[in-house]
Symmetry: C2
């Protein structure tokens, strides 16, 4: 293998163009095999192989600095920077994270997994270089999809006036995670169609010098262009057109489905889920949308996460909006839709709701717009540090006017959905259960307009357990453990409302309870449990809050986390015994 | 007065152009007098008088919908929509807020006070119109300065593909709050210089139809243009060039100083402060920057808030960056500066730090970049609902790796600043005291690298009072009240660290204290106090948390708020008595 000769970027410079082409094919084969085993970002990495080789051939990393946007496309870079074992040796497949990570290599500048940040970060790198009177190239790589994010646009605007070396490689594969959305993409299309020669040029309008590479999978033309811009003394955009999913036919033809794949996908393995929180959500939406033409569903570039496939989107027609990677806009957009008489349902992953704090506060909650926000994937997990979903409760819960609900089963969830969509008083967020679907088989008839009413599921004594959302099941387990070990039945409560205290119920517990336990599937700090602790601050009630600690965990096994956070019935029982 | 004849927009249509011009002058005089009495946004409102008249003359609000960005420029709109008394009658000067407010008038669609939101909101309004098959014009007004904000750019990108009526009026006065920054502004300049004819056009590159009005203070040409675009069937940008501060010479010549003015400014009244937290900060920065060329100060478009005048900026030269209205970029930028060996100090107002949550989390804290963030104006106030500064503690405190400090006096603050700038381990935020400067006259020699060490200021018994930052003085007052009324000395503690618990100290209090009081100048929910409540949850310690409630207050008097939140020594004493 040519790859045998390449351990670090310098080794590339001993190879001929034809060897580099062979290398690209070898790398591509390894990526296909590895990702089909572990799952991961597929299309973006296949598309960027040649460009990565050319970048490392021309520029002198780590002296020259590469900053990869979202790092969905950093596998080839890892292979060329001392980490190829993670792609060659199946025993090492899990050694390296799927994102750039400075702790792995000096070739990675930042830990990155959210989109649209590379240009901003690169501006800082370039400015530090200039302050220190150093000389090196700063190169931000950003995909066309990521360009629509506000942070990318702010960064581009600022990078343009640096006045010194600053190179932005725009990796244009004519695709975001799903298809692109926005006026900007018509300009990219125009530029592709005119070989970059159109006068009206988004990048030039922002003040950039500009050059165009028609075939961004052709190593030779990439090298030629990069050599021209190396050591340039001003900001320039290098617009390269690549083929997403290149080298795997299905991925070339269905760029959305192969953006990120699950293990075995290439062998035809399918993950057909039965009834799930996704499926019941989507049935609800389709039914509702048919009857009510003002219902509209909104997301920012991740329809696949919610199971919003082509059929679903086609059925909804103009009642569906993908705003592209633009979470801030999504939030303001749904607020305005609601204030203008439409009924928006906005779906967002817990990790990405972080991109909209001020919009949640100012555009949405200050205007008290009656929207429904569905927060997916919230909970403690073994995810990469860049995709933790443990912060949404503190983030959302403490904004005035917001009603944040935590259903524990299908019937409750559907009832909350129905109420939320039809009410006109509050911005409502629902934390979609991130567990296997639970059905209690009995319709929920709660009137959720009576806010902050918790539900007693089992009346008991001494200990009351508040099991929020995903962790209601854990509450039931803890209750069983208490019964078994201490021989009394504790009270089990399903709070349902994250955003407020059921003062009447909490007050009533004082008469025959000594301990209140709160269980939440997310960060303790600033969360639901602390609110309960505060409530009981002036009383004799003991309160124990359980949830995740304030830390960025990184692919840590769930069991290990649960042990550390004492989120296990036997550990909680121990804590109770210590008090009783 | 012509204004006597105008109560609502329809009245404008009975006037001749020359009467409209007289009206503009009358309105301008009233704005000048009113703002010089109450303080407020001056330059932006003077510049937009004619455009507002023309908008209301041509379009049919409230059937047609206007969305004003940041609403720094909504005074003329208020005068023409039933609220002129607020500008004519000094007794009514405080009746209306300085921002658009739906509760005041059906002509105001949203409560807005943060920048760069109008286009996004307008896209939602237009989409709701289309879903309901209604017909009206949707008009977003946005200033050139606000265009650099990510949300504006996301909104523009999405608005371009609506395919239906959508009008964005870009009010280009060649100025943000301070001067503009970014490559985009070179394009606006080019468009102004070419009467909008340049081929390379930022707005066209985003997919908009485009027209240009050279003199945006000329009512007649504005009316002609607006009449052309009224009922247009696709998205268009109307680029109008206006004179910020028009009609008040000093404001025309010094657009930054007169963006927002204090009462009496036009009569020559000056607000010379002596030594203040601003002045000591700026002295520290200038001294430090002279010695260390890697020190760099960063802000997003509000240098005036920090006292960063021309002299200050000139002294710093390339060690100063104003990124324009682009808070997300500011955060990523400083993170990258720090990771690349520079020492960034980033100043931001509490209310605007809300615009960067994900960047704080992902770009900054996940990368653990050693920056110094100075958070200004944090605290409970009688501010407008759009500018509350009570949310920064819950927002910042619960992000992993962050160290958030709350100094209580000059010496402590300077020591923290020095430590923060020179350390290389943590992202550090400092809540700049939002009170009159307090000097204890004795150098602080604390080693702040020992995290979460609180300081006992007075040893006592029974009650321990944790007075955080601004509220340390309140803690001292409460202690005196206790001594006077209950005849014992309570313990007084200055926590200094917002982000963690001094477990050793908290543990030691258990031996001879029954009550711990926390006082924080901001939202209780998710804040410092709840963390202390949680800590004591399994113990007999009673904990009372004081701070603001989870609500958007709107120009409520501070005394009223303090009473409601029980932030007064006598009320806190009462609560203590109830427990003891």
């Amino acid at each position: 293998m040519v790859l045998d000769k390449v351990n670090f970027p310098g080794d590339l410079r001993c190879l001929s163009i034809s060897e580099l082409n062979i290398l690209a094919n070898e790398m591509r084969e390894l990526i296909i095999k590895k990702v089909n085993t572990t799952g991961g970002h597929f299309g973006p990495n296949l598309g960027i192989v040649e460009a990565t080789i050319a970048m490392h051939y021309v520029f002198d990393a780590p002296n020259d600095k590469f900053i990869f946007d979202v790092s969905h496309q950093c596998y080839p870079h890892k292979m060329l920077t001392g980490r190829k074992e993670g792609f060659i040796n199946p025993d090492m497949y899990y050694k390296y994270t799927g994102y750039t990570a400075p702790e792995e290599s000096e070739f990675d500048l930042f830990k990155v997994g959210h989109t649209s940040t590379s240009v901003s970060l690169a501006v800082g790198v370039a400015k530090a270089r200039d302050l220190k009177d150093e000389k090196y190239n700063v190169i931000a790589l950003i995909g066309d999809g990521s360009l629509s994010g506000g942070e990318a646009l702010e960064g581009l605007d600022n990078g343009a006036v640096l006045g010194t070396n600053f190179i932005v490689i725009v990796n244009d594969n004519d695709q975001s995670i799903a298809e692109n959305h926005g006026g900007l993409y018509d300009n990219l299309k125009l530029l592709r169609e005119t070989d970059g020669k159109a006068e009206c040029n988004f990048f030039k309008s922002l003040g950039y010098d500009y050059c165009f590479v028609k075939d961004g999978n052709d190593i030779e033309s990439l090298i030629k262009t990069f050599e021209k811009v190396r050591n340039i003394n001003h900001p320039i955009v290098v617009h390269i057109c690549t083929q997403k999913g290149k080298g795997w036919k299905d991925a070339e033809n269905n760029r959305e489905a192969f953006h990120w794949i699950l293990p075995g996908t290439l062998d035809g393995k399918t993950y057909n889920e039965g009834e799930s929180y996704n499926s019941i959500t989507n049935n609800f939406i389709l039914e509702k949308a048919k009857k009510d033409k003002t219902l509209i569903v909104v997301n920012a570039a991740t329809p696949g996460v919610f199971g919003w496939n082509d059929e679903f989107r086609n059925k909804l027609g103009r009642q569906y909006t993908d705003v592209g990677i633009a979470e801030e806009h999504a939030c303001a957009y749904v607020s305005a839709l609601a204030r203008s008489g439409a009924k928006p349902i906005w779906a967002v992953m817990s990790s990405f709701v972080q991109r909209t704090y001020d919009q949640l506060s100012q555009d949405l909650c200050l205007n008290n717009s009656p929207i429904t926000m569905l927060v997916y994937w919230g909970g403690i997990s073994s995810a990469d540090a860049t995709h933790l979903c443990t912060f949404d409760i503190p983030l959302i819960k403490n904004i005035p006017n917001m009603v944040y609900l935590a259903p524990t089963n299908k019937e409750e969830y559907l009832r909350m959905l129905e109420w939320s969509v039809e009410q006109d008083k509050y911005p409502v967020a629902i934390r979609v259960p991130n567990i296997e679907l639970v059905s209690v088989g009995k319709e929920d008839r709660t009137d959720y307009s009576v806010l902050n009413k918790y539900k007693i599921m089992q009346e008991g004594v001494n200990v009351a357990i508040l099991g929020l959302g995903n962790f209601y099941g854990l509450a039931v387990e803890v209750a069983a453990k208490i019964k078994e070990s201490l021989n009394f039945n504790p009270t089990v409560i399903n709070p349902r409302f994250i955003t407020g205290v059921d003062e009447e119920l909490m007050e009533s517990l004082k008469s025959n309870h000594k301990i209140v336990i709160t269980l939440e599937d997310g960060l303790i700090d600033g969360g639901f449990g602390e609110m309960i602790s505060r409530y009981y601050g002036n009383s004799d009630m003991k309160v124990l809050n359980y949830g995740s600690f304030k830390e960025f965990t990184d692919r840590t096994q769930l069991d290990e986390l649960y042990t550390k956070y004492r989120l296990k019935p036997e550990l909680i029982l121990q804590d109770i015994k210590n008090i009783l």
